[in-house]
């Protein structure tokens, strides 16, 4: 676990870079978090996925996996990989300030 300053606010991240406390996240942090993941410009489609991750997490207690995102977010898996080449579910979860999606047991 480590403390990072994002949009001038101190937040706790675990060693994989996911938020420890999703309540510390604010929408103002998004562009800086995206930049850390190598995404320089956020398109509407990026925002759609990030908002969807966040609302699914708040409703269900875990963020969706890539497969579920492809079925439910309105963005296809192929497109999701174009938006987040390093792994849609993981990267979008980091940017949305939620824990790692719990898909894999």
């Amino acid at each position: 676990m480590s403390t990072s300053t994002i949009a001038n606010i101190d937040v706790e991240l675990n060693n994989e870079g996911f938020f420890v406390d999703p309540d510390q996240w604010t929408v103002d942090m998004v562009s800086e978090l995206a930049l850390r993941e190598g995404i320089e410009e956020l398109t509407d489609a990026h925002w759609q996925v990030i908002r969807f991750m966040r609302s699914e997490y708040l409703a269900k207690g875990t963020g969706p996996t890539v497969r579920v995102l492809g079925k439910t977010s309105g963005v296809s898996i192929k497109e999701l990989y174009q938006l987040f080449p390093k792994g849609p579910a993981k990267v979008a979860a980091k940017i949305a300030g939620i824990p790692k999606p719990r898909g894999c047991i």
């Binding site: 996911f18 192929k78 990989y81 792994g87 894999c104 047991i105």
Partner: protein, 419 residues
């Protein structure tokens, strides 16, 4: 008044639930009906051995009807949908069954058609799965003709049934080609969407080491987007490719399709949202879920289904008696991992604790996370226990459904994080 419990699916979970319930209640207290679409109960762990000629597909199948105790009504029909509003199940044969309590035990299905190209050219010729009896038998024929080249084992995505089975397949393939004297001609590769050999850190390291020892190349974080059977290529969404001469693919899994046709019952993958400790569904208080059909964060394994049985049956009883539910299911999972050369490894874990080294169930038991011949015998004996102990609904002497901690060495590891 006689209450009616309807159980959807007569596989591992449905059968053991029906038999356990029948022992708790007399015919005058509850009626039990089990619905299944066919009469072939497959001992699924046996599928792993079929491709290597160590078991035959027909020997691991028994009639479903004969696994039930007296006084259980077995209905052979496919389920069309569940109507939670009217507490009834619509069958495809046109009949409707009402219930006081519904138990969902319809498992997981393979959906290979959801991966581009997987069931296209080359399917069942160069691309196989051992997750179905037909697939396992066809793969067996292909393996016996295989004289060398690149054999790739690929898990498309989680969740899958028995997440260690693909690794076991790699270990057995190494043994099999050694026996045939052509191991040097075969290049074995394990391609997984996970970031390691397995989901839990300590077991993952141990298993990755074993893959390396057995000269199985490990490719991680590979999300298969397409299978090109003709060209012999797995293609990931990020553009990476792995070539093969023979591919063994574990297709995507979903819950049963009828779950999707039942308003309010399932999630986007047709698994049923379920309380992980009480096994009551989130859909309705009189609907309970056991086995692979549930979306609880435990492995989809027969051992989990077995351990769930005790809590599930107790909670059906408490629900019918108007008592509060028992929230004691801990996610206990126990898997023998066949490692070839007549040895096996044993892992034991739950929701909170990852697999640890030590002994099971106490310090004088079977070695954990270590290869041994004793574990291999355990794996073989499991088949007999399955038909004669687990399905009839017996407990294993000395083994409770809660995970034991006595013989484990937690000093070697920390309790896993739940993130």
């Amino acid at each position: 008044m006689v209450k009616r419990v309807v159980i959807l699916g007569g596989g591992t979970g449905g059968t053991l639930t029906a038999n356990r319930l029948r022992r708790v209640y007399s015919d005058t207290e509850i009626e039990i009906a089990v619905i299944d679409q066919d009469d072939c109960h497959v001992y699924q762990p046996g599928l792993l051995f079929v491709p290597f000629g160590l078991a035959h597909a027909e020997d691991i199948v028994r009639p479903r009807g004969r696994q039930f105790h007296h006084g259980i009504d077995y209905v052979k029909s496919a389920i069309d949908h569940v109507d939670l509003e009217t507490n009834s199940v619509q069958l495809t044969d046109g009949s409707t069954l009402g219930y006081d309590v519904l138990v969902i035990a319809s498992g997981a299905v393979l959906v290979p058609e959801e991966t581009d190209g997987l069931v296209g050219p080359g399917w069942m010729e160069k691309v196989f799965t051992f997750y179905s009896p037909e697939g396992a038998a066809a793969l067996g024929a292909a393996l016996s003709r295989f004289d060398g080249g690149r054999l790739v084992v690929n898990v498309v995505d989680m969740p899958i049934k028995c997440p260690v089975a693909p690794l076991e397949f790699c270990f057995l393939a190494d043994w099999y080609f050694c026996e045939r004297g052509i191991r040097d001609e075969v290049q074995l590769t394990y391609v997984t969407p996970l970031d390691g050999a397995f989901t839990k850190p300590i077991a993952s390291q141990r298993l990755a080491g074993m893959l390396a020892d057995k000269r199985v190349e490990l490719v991680t974080e590979f999300n298969t987007g397409e299978v090109d059977g003709k060209g012999g290529r797995l293609i990931a969404y990020d553009g990476r490719e792995v070539g093969f001469d023979l591919a063994v693919v574990i297709p995507l899994h979903s819950g049963a399709a009828y779950v999707g046709r039942s308003p309010g019952l399932g999630d986007s993958l047709n698994f049923v949202p379920t309380d992980e400790h009480t096994l009551q569904s989130h859909a309705a208080p009189n609907v309970f879920v056991i086995g692979d059909a549930a979306n609880v964060p435990a492995s989809k394994a027969g051992s989990v289904t077995h351990f769930e049985g005790e809590v599930l049956v107790e909670n059906v009883r408490r629900y019918l008696a108007g008592e509060s539910l028992d929230a004691s299911f801990d996610g206990h999972t126990n898997c023998f991992i066949e490692t070839g050369f007549h040895k096996a490894l044993l892992i034991d874990f739950d929701y909170e604790t990852e697999p640890l080294p030590g002994h099971y169930p106490s310090s004088v038991g079977l070695p954990l996370l270590a290869e041994s011949r004793l574990n291999h015998l355990g794996k073989l004996m499991f088949e007999s226990f399955y038909w004669h102990g687990l399905l009839p609904g017996r407990d294993i002497p000395g083994i409770s459904s809660a995970m034991p901690t006595a013989g484990k060495r937690p000093a070697a590891a920390n309790v896993s994080r739940k993130d």
